[in-house]
Amino acid sequence: MLGFILKRFLQAAFVVVAVSLIVAVAIRMTGDPALMISQNATNITEADLIKIREGLGLNQPFYLQYLDSLKGLLTWDFGRSFVGGTPVNLLVEKALPATLMLAFASMFVSIVISIPLGIKAAVSKGKWADQMIRICSLVGLSFPNFWLATMLVLLFAVTLKWLPPSGMSGFESFIMPALTMGVILTATNVRLVRTTMLETLSAQYVMVARAKGLSESKVLYKHALRNCAIPLITYFGLQFGGLLGGIVVIERVFNWPGMGTLAFDAVSARDYPVLQAVIMILSLMIVGVNLLVDIAYGLVDPRIRKE
């Protein structure tokens, strides 16, 4: 157990260090933040620029800047944003829950849709219900997320005025972003559920469950589904990780104050401290999700349980 934890810890540390190092180097190749800050200021001189850089701490050697940002993760003090000087942890503390909640909601929507549909498709393999489900799920794949999002906004916010078009302001504001992401994820997930179910359905113990006289829903949702859990959880975990860093576009469309927006703005503005913090936290989260997935393995499948 201890060995497992140690291994996990080293792995996490490696990922965080590597990712943040890559980002630190790459972002420094994209331009000088001092120039960005003084972009429209006229009459700026080289001396002014040097002052600005000093103010940002960019006069220090790279390795010190980088170590500083690593230290930031441990002390939860990532310094101040280059844009406006807001403490980075303040920004991150706001954005992280926003993104996490949205990601959870999206996963939830997708799982709630795709599991029954996937199971239905598997059970009626080759029949019209299966074909319909498969084809409909592809629609989610054929229009970009911002397009689907805009359509939803036009329908529910502009025309019907049921839901707020953007912003994070309570339960209603979650519905559309989560639905958009959920529908898109569902396209893949339905297939995944269908496939794994197909494999499980042919297993002997499913027949046995039927032979016991159990109802069909018990057979499918208790006996079969639980056995699909491993690949499903693995995939959902990956997907969740992807969501954390990947919903920039959705956050933009719904004006969601999340990590994606934060990161996007930070890259655009070459806001090193914010970007560094976002990246380190995201990679930690992703490592964390992987860990949770591993723990979940043991919970759903006793064969994987550690002694």
């Binding site: 994209t30 331009g31 001189t45 469309v253 004006n255």
Partner: protein, 482 residues
């Protein structure tokens, strides 16, 4: 009474006047802060926190008589001390970390004459200084508050003397304000004012349509969405000439555009009137110089080159450019409207035998790498507009040798002209030289001037008494909502 919600495309991150150059800082902060001078929607310079001023020492000293009985939102009194503190902060250590300082370096010292009289001692005359005092870095800040709470606290919890005081700020989400009861001027008619930061144009418009936002300020609404707003019976579109002028500037050093005849020919090849009418829905004015009509230094006699493809072909032939010549145009990738304009330009160019390819860039890469390093193609996008509406701001940066925005050209005569007008405090004299510069640049065809774009406001009809401002510096104390 009532609440007004404004959608602004960007959160400046800090409300400290010395930290930023963003127009969207100004659109919110003009309600919080005041400068010694003030410039309203009519672009006239009027007294602000200073009741009057005079030029002394041949323009090297400005003496301000301050308004009395003014207090900051936190109750701190406004006086000469506050002015001195403001400028020393701006020009000192703290100001050095930000981009605003360089605009005010003409100020050498601030001298208090008495509690309500203060002198700005200048190292050289600065003809634009009085205008600059009306905005941005020159906003007067409360000395005690900042000294006690620190600069960092001030960033997020700004305190000024303006008609609205800040009651809550959520970074990247919203800035909430309330009418300031002790405001010295016309008190606000609305009780609450909220700025929401919405980057996506379509989202902002959707919010406007849904009635959750009352006013969408520039530069949000793309021309493509104008019909959408016009079609909505609850909404209204208000526009006014803005500061931003668009041009495709030339690489005057290499390639076919090194030849002024080619540069002229390309301008003539493009039907700018049609572009403005069709693509921009008429929300712009074609220009023949790199400034708009509101700008100080604008020469109304300098007309745009006419659309003349035949003449263009002839000029190109003269210059030895064969049909099928290719050029590259670098533009900002996130500016959809200008993207369309550029495509139209490219289409027109192809009609005179010049094939243009368009390279979109990430904005900051274009602005801080591609352009300054001279890595552009034959043409590149420049959209520019200083809130001061003074041509010097544009011309010096664009044409003076060695400037960041002038990677290719070096013209001794132009340099001389540019330098000569800077110390002049006589407005008329300066204006003559500025017009001269505009004509000189047009003669050499240093850029393809396109248009001066309007500032477009989307507004809910329940908002009354709203006057659009050209320079984004919105002060909303007059506005009422139903």
């Amino acid at each position: 009474a009532g609440k007004l919600t404004v959608s602004s495309p960007q959160d400046p991150g800090s409300w400290d006047p010395i930290d930023t150059f963003l127009v969207n800082w100004a659109s919110a902060a003009t309600n919080i802060f005041e400068g010694l001078t003030y410039r309203g929607p009519d672009m006239k310079l009027v007294p602000g926190l200073a009741e009057s001023w005079e030029e002394l020492d041949e323009g090297k000293r400005l003496r301000f008589k301050l308004r009395q009985g003014v207090s900051f939102h936190n109750g701190e009194p406004f006086n000469a001390e506050a002015v001195k503190f403001t400028f020393e902060r701006l020009l000192g250590e703290e100001g050095g970390k930000g981009p605003q300082r360089s605009n005010y370096t003409a100020i050498e010292a601030v001298e208090i004459v008495d509690e309500f009289t203060v002198d700005l001692k200048l190292s050289r005359p600065d003809p634009v200084l009085l205008t600059k005092l009306a905005g941005y870095g020159a906003m007067i800040v409360p000395p005690k508050y900042i000294t006690e709470k620190g600069d960092e606290h001030f960033n997020l919890n700004p305190v000024g003397t303006g008609p609205f005081k800040v009651v809550g700020y959520e970074p990247k989400v919203a800035l909430k304000m309330e009418a300031f009861a002790d405001y010295h001027g016309d008190k606000a008619k609305i009780s609450e004012l909220e700025f929401r930061f919405i980057t996506e144009p379509a989202t902002a418009v959707a919010e406007l349509q849904a009635g959750r936002v009352d006013l969408v300020i520039p530069p949000t609404i793309p021309v493509s969405m104008i019909p959408t707003i016009k079609a909505d019976e609850n909404l209204e579109l208000v526009s006014t000439a803005g500061p931003t002028v668009y041009a495709l500037r030339y690489n005057t050093r290499d390639g076919i555009t090194a030849d002024p005849r080619v540069r002229k020919a390309l301008i003539m090849a493009v039907d700018r009137e049609t572009i403005v009418k069709e693509i921009l829905g008429g929300e712009a004015e074609v220009i023949g110089q790199f400034q708009g009509a509101l700008s100080f230094g604008y020469d109304e006699t300098l007309k745009p080159l006419p659309f003349d493809p035949e003449g263009a072909k002839k000029l190109l032939e003269e210059a030895g450019v064969k049909p099928g010549a290719t050029i590259e145009i670098d533009i900002r990738g996130n500016d959809a409207t200008f993207g369309e304009v550029t495509q139209a330009v490219a289409a027109y160019l192809s009609m005179v035998g010049v094939n243009a390819t368009i390279r979109p860039h990430e904005t900051n890469t274009l602005l801080n790498d591609i352009v300054p390093q001279g890595k552009t193609g034959a043409m590149f996008q420049q959209s520019w507009g200083g809130w001061t509406f003074d041509y010097d701001n544009t011309a010096y940066s664009m044409y003076h040798s060695g400037e960041k925005w002038n990677p290719y050209d070096s013209d001794a005569e132009l340099d001389k002209l540019l330098e000569s007008q800077r110390p002049l405090t006589d407005r008329a004299e300066r204006e003559v030289i500025l017009k001269q510069i505009a004509n000189y640049a047009a003669e050499r065809a240093l850029e393809m001037p396109l248009y001066n774009q309007n500032a477009i406001f989307g507004i809910n009809k329940r908002v009354k008494n709203f006057t659009p401002v050209p320079d984004s510096r919105l002060r909303l104390n007059e506005v009422e909502v139903e």
